[in-house]
Symmetry: C2
């Protein structure tokens, strides 16, 4: 495919594993052991102590990335003969398994765009800081609550009407082509996927709404979320990285004593296409590949997916709605609910199945197998609810209802629903 | 009025001012000076250090109430010949200026309903914990962000169909009568007002929507909120009460050295109608009466109010939408925007003007003059936006968009809109 050739031809980056002690520009704070940047900006690796009395594990400690600044993930959109096109960027990240991936027009932390590191200005940033086009979507959303402490980014889509010739490394791609590319492993990056999921119904068109009655009305869904957020007891305390029990420094990284979950490791990066040409940084590297899946059922012909109210230590507000299944099976002695059903679904009912990468700026070789599989089972479980696509779209106008893994799946769900609409 | 006679006849409570050192069951933590309950529950009075570089004051410290538990404010509703009625309670609070006020069916902290203090069970609580009726509204909302650190309560309305005879101290009141009573000073308490504001459109009826185009579409309003929450820089750090600079202990209370803002003081309470008959507690007592107001303008005949994006240290998420004016004029050397316009509005354009009390369980004699006044001016100011009632209703389905003072005014706005509808 044309876009794939363009992507693979673009720029280069080399990331080498180095011991945490050899990071430059980063230091281990003597009082806490936290990994902090010399500037005090960017992010730090700290610890949290989590008490979750009714959870599957009632207490644990872990390293976590603290990045309190709200960054911008922005996509410029235009219509060419009515067809939506997105301005995407071929971007390398040190954690990518395969070189450049399709990134939003702008993917900038506040440190990036206030240019703490003294790099080049971020292209197109002004289109989002002072939009002169139509703002189609503008909402802060969380990212991985198991790896980030209260991280959130502003997801924006701005529609422009002027004739914008893309700079080197940028390209206009039809929305439909981007949906197709979601099925190619590790091509559409996490930031693009989350911004895609927040596109308003007006962009998708009425046929995507698959109009019909939803299983539960919106009031019931909102009340269920409120009930969870009001009654689940979780206490998350930030602690020094040196005092995170159960984790140890070995071979230049920080690992859990069971070998499970993830390690905190270092990389040395050289890049041809970035504001700064070379740097080192700590990253989180999961020890196993994950499975992230929606079960999909049609009620009165309307597709619904089964969302789970998930509690993760890094969420700003107790619980968010996640996929039916979200786990690294290797970390579990007993499989979580519906994992076996998802993995045992016959091929004819597998609607989506692609390996996709998580954000390569913070996570090293973090990949999940994203699945949407059809079921006829009408599961009833207090932690789960069936929700329709229009309901998901409505929830995505607001912050912190849907977690980042669910948002990736919702982007994929649009490609699935497009097939359903076409098959009618 | 019948309901007022009933209210004044109900129960009794005596609250006497005592020095903080004479509180029983409370202690001053030796390490921090924080005022904490012996049980470790209920609430504590602590300190915050606030840095708000672009604010009217760029740095300050202050005492603040920390009450991390999410309580329930619940109203049972029924329809009698189609007319909505609310089950309200005549309830005394130590901070009330005038005895009992109309309170929600249930007004319970988590400590209340888990019965930390060993009191009587909370009547009707099970109707909200495991609702068998229809949940019309269920959303967590913030309270005073200048006095509470991230306090929020669950605002619920449950519609029942069974024949419920009220216990002593409770009474069914028609929604219309409650709207009328909002115009009587200090009768409808803050908790009732906030729950009222969260009632869904189905209860108010279509005529309240005043259908027509809103000034800004919902996407613009949401984007403005996101922009504020993403770019305003405010850092709030919890500090020991003993280290709150600019405040001093004098005459058994904690006061600001200028005499402005509020004091932390103690009361000794005896009550005839409460789960526990006698107790002492610290409270916050503002030093001046406030003015809380909406400017209202009709665009294409549709009433809009001017909301302000407000930053208060106790908000969980940077900024919430508040009234056009919310201040104690005595605390300001230069009046905040639109205060003079509000106070100078000719009587014929004053649509609502009543003195109402803030929550009497934590605040002593805290009263604000609530106003809704009509204007023809089309104010344009980056901190303010015109929003219509249907937009407010939509925002109130979700948490933390509208602050507690705006929610009181929205309850009052319904009584104003009712007049407009009747006048058509």
């Amino acid at each position: 495919m044309n876009a794939l050739r363009w992507l693979s031809a673009h720029g280069s980056m080399k990331a080498e594993r180095i011991p945490l002690d050899e990071l430059t520009g980063w230091r281990r704070d003597p009082g806490t052991g936290n990994l902090v940047h010399a500037s005090g900006k960017f992010f730090s690796v700290e610890g949290v102590d989590v008490r979750y009395p009714d959870g599957p594990v009632s207490r644990w400690a872990q390293p976590i990335i603290n990045q309190p600044e709200v960054g911008v993930l922005g996509i410029l959109m235009r219509r060419l003969d009515g067809v939506p096109q997105l301005l995407l960027q071929a971007k390398h990240e040190p954690g990518n398994v395969n070189g450049a991936q399709l990134s939003p027009t702008v993917q900038a932390t506040r440190s990036n765009y206030t240019r703490v590191h003294g790099g080049r200005p971020v292209p197109y940033l002004d289109r989002f800081r002072s939009p002169d086009g139509r703002v189609l979507s503008d909402v802060r959303q969380s990212e991985q609550g198991s790896w980030f402490y209260r991280k959130r980014n502003r997801n924006m889509v701005v529609e422009i009407t002027d004739d914008l010739a893309p700079s080197a490394g940028f390209r206009w791609l039809a929305l439909d082509d981007v949906l197709d590319l979601l099925s190619v492993p590790d091509v559409v990056n996490m930031d693009t996927r989350t911004v895609l999921s927040c596109l308003p119904p007006s962009v998708w068109g009425d046929e995507y709404a698959m109009s019909g009655r939803s299983r539960h009305d919106m009031g019931e869904i909102l009340s269920w979320i409120t009930q969870r957020r009001s009654t689940v007891e979780i206490h998350v305390e930030r602690i020094p990285l040196d005092r995170v029990g159960g984790w140890r420094r070995e071979r230049g990284a920080i690992a859990h004593e069971t070998g499970r979950y993830f390690t905190v490791m270092g990389v040395s990066v050289t890049a041809s296409d970035r504001e700064v040409g070379a740097w080192t940084q700590p990253m989180i590297e999961p020890t196993a590949t994950g499975v992230v899946a929606f079960l999909l059922n049609r009620f009165d012909g309307v597709p619904h997916v089964l969302v789970r109210a998930r509690v993760e230590p890094g969420y700003a507000d107790v619980a968010e709605l996640g996929p039916t299944v979200q786990c690294a099976p290797a970390n579990h002695d007993t499989p979580p609910p519906y994992l076996e059903e998802v993995l045992g679904t016959p091929p004819g009912r597998v609607l989506f199945d692609t390996m996709l990468s998580e954000e390569g700026g913070r996570f090293h070789h973090a990949r999940n197998r994203y699945l949407i599989v059809e079921t006829d089972a009408d599961h009833a479980h207090p932690d789960f609810r069936w929700v329709s696509l229009p309901q998901l779209t409505e929830l995505l106008r607001h912050s912190h209802y849907l977690n980042v893994q669910a948002r990736t799946l919702i982007a994929c769900l649009y490609s699935v629903v497009r097939e359903m609409v076409a098959a009618r």
